[in-house]
């Protein structure tokens, strides 16, 4: 194993160093430093336009790394793309299962493109479908699936290659609460057994609080607060008490933490693109 060879710290699943990515004049990711430890569930939180998806797309090799470095288990995501891809399971934001194929065919395609040998392909696909509770629906076309089922099918597609890093971009967006819980339960069952690392973006703070080991609050292209959900909430509670808030105040939620981080020094915390761009333009003019 090459785990301890190479410059990157061997115990990190993902390391981004000063990652910057700009669309035209807008820096979607602006000097992002991020490390995801092996085996943890790391939540990248932030409002729309915070740069979460762009950062994820750089890590998955979908976007080039124009500035900074991205390493996945020590492999450079800009140079060693194939090695990085072999370690990844990726579930994009859109419902991306092929509606014209059955559940089983959807998963089989990914078993094939990850070079699962023919003799164990059927068994592996069956296990992936069973792991997400779709064994009974495997022969149905995906266009008959509910939103939650499609998400679980995509999870099976990602899991069939036994990824060491599962990357989920807004996995529960648009799902009802029961389907959301279902998706997370399946992720956690597989994770408990395989020890895979999970990197997830979400803007559901309650979900991050409940399921993530650590979270990074992203705003305007950079991580603004990092820690376990409990640490972040406790930290804000202590800061508030230091500023004279009564000790009887309830512990702040992650959402409070986020508002605290995103709102500091800003008029509002909307963080939309035009907002970012105009700030940048001003900053450049000022020097």
């Amino acid at each position: 194993m090459t785990r301890h060879i190479g410059a990157a710290p061997p115990d990190d699943a993902v390391t981004c160093t000063r990652l910057t990515y700009a669309f035209g004049g807008t820096k979607a990711v602006d000097g992002l430093d991020l490390s995801v430890r092996q085996g943890e569930v790391f939540g990248l939180l932030g409002p729309n336009g915070a740069g979460k998806t762009t950062a994820i797309r750089c890590i998955t090799t979908l976007l080039p790394v124009p500035s900074g470095t991205v390493r996945v288990f020590g492999h450079d995501a800009a140079r060693d793309r194939m090695a990085v891809r072999r370690l990844l399971g990726y579930v994009p934001q859109q419902l991306s299962a092929d509606a014209a194929l059955t559940g089983r065919e959807n998963v089989t395609l990914f078993a094939r493109v990850f070079d699962v040998p023919r003799r164990e392909r059927a068994a592996r696909v069956a296990q992936a479908l069973a792991a997400v509770g779709l064994a009974d629906a495997a022969e149905r076309l995906a266009n008959t699936y509910s939103g939650g089922m499609v998400r679980r099918l995509e999870l099976a597609q990602a899991l069939v290659s036994a990824p060491r890093l599962l990357i989920l971009d807004e996995p529960t967006i648009g799902l009802d609460p029961i389907a959301r819980t279902g998706v997370w339960e399946h992720i956690n069952t597989v994770r408990a057994v395989t020890g895979m690392t999970v990197l997830v973006t979400t803007h559901y703070m309650d979900e991050a609080d409940q399921y993530c080991d650590r979270v990074g609050l992203m705003h305007r292209g950079r991580i603004r607060a990092l820690g376990t959900p409990a640490e972040l909430r406790r930290g804000l509670g202590e800061r508030r008490r230091a500023h004279g808030a009564p000790a009887t105040d309830p512990l702040p939620t992650l959402e409070d933490v986020f508002r605290d981080v995103a709102g500091s020094g800003l008029d509002d915390s909307s963080g939309d693109f035009r907002d970012v761009r105009s700030t940048r333009r001003t900053a450049r003019r000022v020097g």
Partner: protein
């Protein structure tokens, strides 16, 4: 973290087996480099066949136009004998042209599927698998070829029903299949390249509509090159469809053809198309 780092496989296999996911613990071994491309082509062609098996509507609706071309245009022009065909009935002469046309129509709109896959996130997901872009494009090109081939079989059967004297020599039919797949590979790559440039379904649809008929009429599909004005002959010589039709005509009817040159052009065009489309595919991932 309280978890023991790197638990030995024997210990982690038990809970895996208990959950029925013991295979999902082990990543598959990477395939050797030279076997990767054929494996990806097979994977993507299999998907195309599965889709055709689930929904044959397109296969039937796309059979209507070639059937009408053969039935109306073919039978009428057979009667008026306006076009010099070298002794073969006109409907026989045009049948290979119509086969090539229906295959080209499928391939030239294949890029729309790529844009749809981009919008749906399917393409992103495929690009995050250990599949180089050139392998993905080659796979898609051959998948379009497979789809066209199934369509070509339907048109061949229609032509046979209308009394066109086609060969049933299996070797020649294999050659026909190769010509159909290679031509479709080129036209689907042309379509995917345009998709990479315009990046929108509507624009690609418009461009597809605009170029299919000129490609068809500026070829030897309906009339021999010899009857064309000089400028059109030049266009026809640059049109891969002409070489495909020439090969199909030679193989299906036994008319004089330039098979070696035809296949050389088709292979070259397909390779060129794959290179161009692979280079432009990245634009769809942005």
């Amino acid at each position: 973290m309280s978890e023991a780092p790197a638990a030995p496989p024997a210990a982690s296999a038990d809970p895996a087996r208990a959950h029925g996911i013991d295979l999902l613990v082990r990543p598959p071994r990477p395939r050797a480099g030279r076997r990767l491309l054929p494996a990806r082509v097979v994977a993507l062609c299999a998907v195309e066949l599965q889709k055709l098996r689930h929904d044959r509507t397109e296969l039937y609706t796309r059979a209507v136009q070639p059937a009408l071309w053969l039935l109306i245009f073919g039978q009428t022009f057979t009667r008026i004998r306006a076009i010099p065909t070298g002794g073969v009935p006109y409907i026989d002469f045009m049948a290979p042209g119509i086969i090539a046309q229906s295959a080209m129509f499928i391939a030239i709109f294949y890029g729309i599927q790529i844009i749809w896959e981009r919008d749906a996130g399917v393409l992103d997901k495929l690009l995050v698998t250990p599949t180089p872009r050139s392998a993905l494009v080659t796979g898609k090109a051959f998948a379009a070829g497979v789809k066209s081939l199934v369509q070509a079989v339907v048109v061949v059967l229609i032509a046979a029903l209308l009394g066109v004297a086609l060969t049933w020599n299996p070797l020649r039919l294999l050659g026909v299949a190769a010509a159909v797949v290679l031509g479709s590979a080129f036209f689907s790559c042309l379509s995917m390249s345009i998709a990479g440039i315009v990046r929108s379904r509507d624009r690609l649809m418009g461009i597809g509509q605009a170029i299919t008929m000129p490609l068809f009429f500026a070829s030897n599909a309906l009339y021999p090159v010899a009857v064309m004005p000089g400028w059109l002959q030049a266009v026809s010589r640059a049109n891969p469809l002409s070489y495909q039709v020439d090969a199909l005509r030679g193989l299906l009817l036994g008319t004089p053809a330039h098979l070696a040159a035809d296949f050389a052009v088709l292979v070259g065009a397909a390779a060129l198309g794959i290179t161009a489309a692979s280079g432009l595919l990245g634009r769809l991932a942005r």
